[in-house]
């Protein structure tokens, strides 16, 4: 792993680079559109944007196999899209329509999809970690070489559930990949104001879990680290912990006045925007041309426009169905 961090991953080929770029762009534009729709009150509730962190979902999730599982947080549109859940289904969900991936019952914070083993969409900070441990336990007990990737923010590190879950995963040698997206803030609380030990990887290592900090603004670094980690996990090496160092460019949610950080700091980080960083690098290496990006933009725009239309045209669940899905509907024998 340390080799990888020094040598750096290989340059991707054109198709690969375009796919990565498209992955990030789709999330970026989707999120920008969501913000717009929120101000139009088409999307309601809490909305947490992933802008700035796209390299992580786009880089890491592509490494997973279809049979692997994902557990995420309320800031999970990016992960959902990267996993291949359609923009249609995610957008419709945020519109509260039946065509949404959770029937409109979940909203922005609760994207779920059985087909891609996407287990949410958990709005309790730290709440997804025990779930991921359990999914991995089930795989281990059933001798399946599947991986469960669990995404969470660095704010979750302070929660008791983090501690208990990492210990369980390590103690039982379970196939969990812990992906901590360290964007330096939990709402308005900076990491150094919430942790006595700010080196998150070091904390994870205290459970005897291999743990590395990774540049989360570099999609190739993310992918490369994830590959190595996933391989180790799949081969039965037990849990792995990756700390992706990143930054959210937008407010925590749509209600945040951002009193807790300097504009300067935001601007400095924006200079490391993962999308231009990657595209510029690909231009420089001659792998991708600016025209390609323009084409991707058009393509992505189309996909999102269609998603918005799909969501607009979606239907509302009949009010009479209010009490459904509290318990499983069984067809009587």
């Amino acid at each position: 792993m340390s080799d990888a961090r020094h040598a750096g991953p290989d340059l991707p080929d054109r198709d690969d680079a375009l796919a990565l770029l498209r992955g990030m762009l789709l999330i970026r534009r989707f999120e920008e559109k969501s913000a717009e729709l929120y101000t139009q009150e088409k999307i309601r509730g809490f909305l947490h944007l992933y802008i700035g962190q796209e390299a992580i979902a786009a880089g890491a999730i592509g490494v997973l196999r279809p049979e692997d599982a994902i557990v995420a947080t309320y800031r999970e549109h990016g992960h959902a899209l990267a996993r291949g859940i359609s923009a249609d289904a995610v957008m419709a969900e945020m519109f509260g329509k039946v065509e949404g991936c959770s029937l409109g019952r979940g909203g922005s914070m609760h994207i779920f999809d059985a087909a891609t083993r996407f287990y949410g969409g958990n709005a309790i900070v730290g709440g997804g970690l025990p779930l991921a441990v359990g999914l991995a336990l089930a795989d281990k007990m059933q001798n399946r070489s599947r991986v469960t990737a669990c995404f969470f923010g660095e704010g979750a590190v302070a929660e008791g559930e983090f501690h208990e879950s990492l210990n369980l995963a390590a103690l039982w040698n379970l196939p969990v990949l812990f992906c901590c997206e360290n964007n330096l803030y939990a709402m308005g609380t900076a990491l150094e104001r919430s942790e006595s030990e700010v080196d998150v990887s070091l904390k994870a290592a205290s459970y005897q879990i291999p743990a590395w900090p990774i540049d989360g603004m570099d999609v190739l670094a993310v992918r490369d680290a994830t590959r190595r980690a996933v391989d180790a996990v799949r081969q039965g090496g037990g849990p792995y912990f990756l700390e992706f160092r990143t930054y959210r460019f937008r407010p925590h949610s749509m209600f945040d006045a951002e009193l807790y950080r300097e504009k300067d700091e935001v601007e400095t980080w924006k200079r490391r925007d993962p999308i231009p960083a990657f595209s510029t690098r690909m231009f420089d290496a001659g792998v991708v041309a600016p025209e390609d990006v323009a084409m991707l933009e058009t393509d992505v725009e189309g996909e999102i426009d269609r998603a918005v239309r799909f969501a607009e045209e979606g239907t509302l669940e009949p009010v009479e169905d209010l009490l459904r899905h509290v318990y499983t509907e069984r067809t009587e024998p």
Binding site: A114, L135, E161, S165, L168
Partner: protein
């Protein structure tokens, strides 16, 4: 105390043994089933319920956990999603408060939040109740409190049949089922049919029939209530005794059918009086049988005090047979 329903051959055993039999059967018959919790393995279970099971099933399936209630209950949810049929033992209801986030915010909501995609076939067992002088942090009776939460089911086996038979049905249920075993029942001895097996987890049961009052209870209070019914009989008052068996859902039909007939009711439960499950039952009877009642509904609950250690105080805090008898007698006197 408890006796077999059927006619066939019977045998004598304890409530503890009945639970263990149910666990062993479930593990034997379904590879997906496993038991996980603090000290279920090496130690043999805090209440010796799982004693010997480690030897038969091995440590993968009789899985000792660290003291991490939230994580291992959550891991149970995850394992259920992953195709297993976990039985999570939370040693006692008192410690389940540490896992409440996972139970209320995840187990109970996941199916709904996912628009019906992800069922959580999880079974959680826990010991509940006072009466052993374990004081304020170890004597809660919170099963009625849990019954407030939509998305989970709450069952309270009080008889050997139910101790033996509810687990199986709970495991077949696609949704989270919490099984509350009253600590005072583990040593209860009784007979059970040789072929005793699965029983429904829903539906109350009328254990004794009478004309004058409906005594409605569950779990640890059932035997006190049966004793009270016996005492009442000698005073010429005959009582229905209803074992609720399930607190969520409540079996309105059985409750209402009985009370409609007796026109008087006493609810007995070990929860603290304010906001206990008895209040809900009183509310439902009031809603449905207002015009038919002949007396105010009575309830006998625990005193509103953290459980004191001293024996005489604990006894005074818990529902007692004389209190039940007195409450039932009050329903017999006419006019206000």
């Amino acid at each position: 105390m408890s006796s077999a329903a059927g006619e066939g051959p019977v045998r004598t055993l304890t409530y503890r043994e009945a639970v263990r039999e149910a666990l062993c059967e479930a593990l034997r018959e379904d590879d997906r089933v496993f038991l996980m919790g603090e000290d279920v393995g090496r130690y043999g279970g805090c209440y010796a319920v799982s004693k010997g099971m480690l030897e038969e099933f091995g440590e993968e399936r009789i899985r000792d956990t660290p003291l991490s209630e939230s994580a291992f209950v959550g891991a149970g949810i995850g394992a259920a999603l992953g195709g297993m049929r976990p039985i999570v033992e939370v040693m006692t209801v008192n410690f389940s408060l540490l896992a409440l986030d996972q139970i209320v915010n995840t187990a109970a909501t996941l199916l709904h939040m996912s628009g019906g995609q992800f069922s959580v076939p999880l079974v959680v067992r826990m010991a509940t109740g006072g009466g052993r002088q374990l004081a304020a942090q170890h004597s809660h009776s919170l099963e009625g409190w849990y019954a407030h939460i939509p998305g989970i089911k709450i069952v309270t086996p009080a008889t050997l049949e139910d101790a033996r038979g509810m687990l199986r049905t709970a495991l077949e249920d696609p949704d989270p089922v919490l099984i509350f075993e009253n600590v005072m029942l583990y040593n209860l001895e009784g007979t059970l049919a040789e072929n005793a097996g699965a029983v429904p987890i829903e539906g109350a049961r009328v254990l004794r029939s009478g004309e004058d009052v409906s005594l409605i209870t569950y779990g640890g209070s059932l035997y006190k209530t049966l004793e009270a019914a016996e005492a009442l009989q000698s005073e010429g008052v005959t009582a229905d005794v209803i074992d609720l068996r399930s607190l969520r859902p409540l079996d309105d039909d059985t409750i209402l059918a009985s009370v409609r007939r007796t026109r008087r009711a006493v609810i007995v439960d070990e929860g603290w009086r304010t906001g206990s499950i008895s209040a809900e039952i009183m509310a439902r009877i009031g809603e449905r049988l207002f015009w038919e009642m002949d007396a105010p509904i009575e309830r006998v609950c625990s005193a509103e005090v953290p459980m004191p250690y001293a024996r005489h105080l604990e006894e005074a805090a818990l529902p007692s047979v004389p209190e039940i008898v007195a409450a039932a007698m009050r329903t017999q006197s006419r006019a206000g």
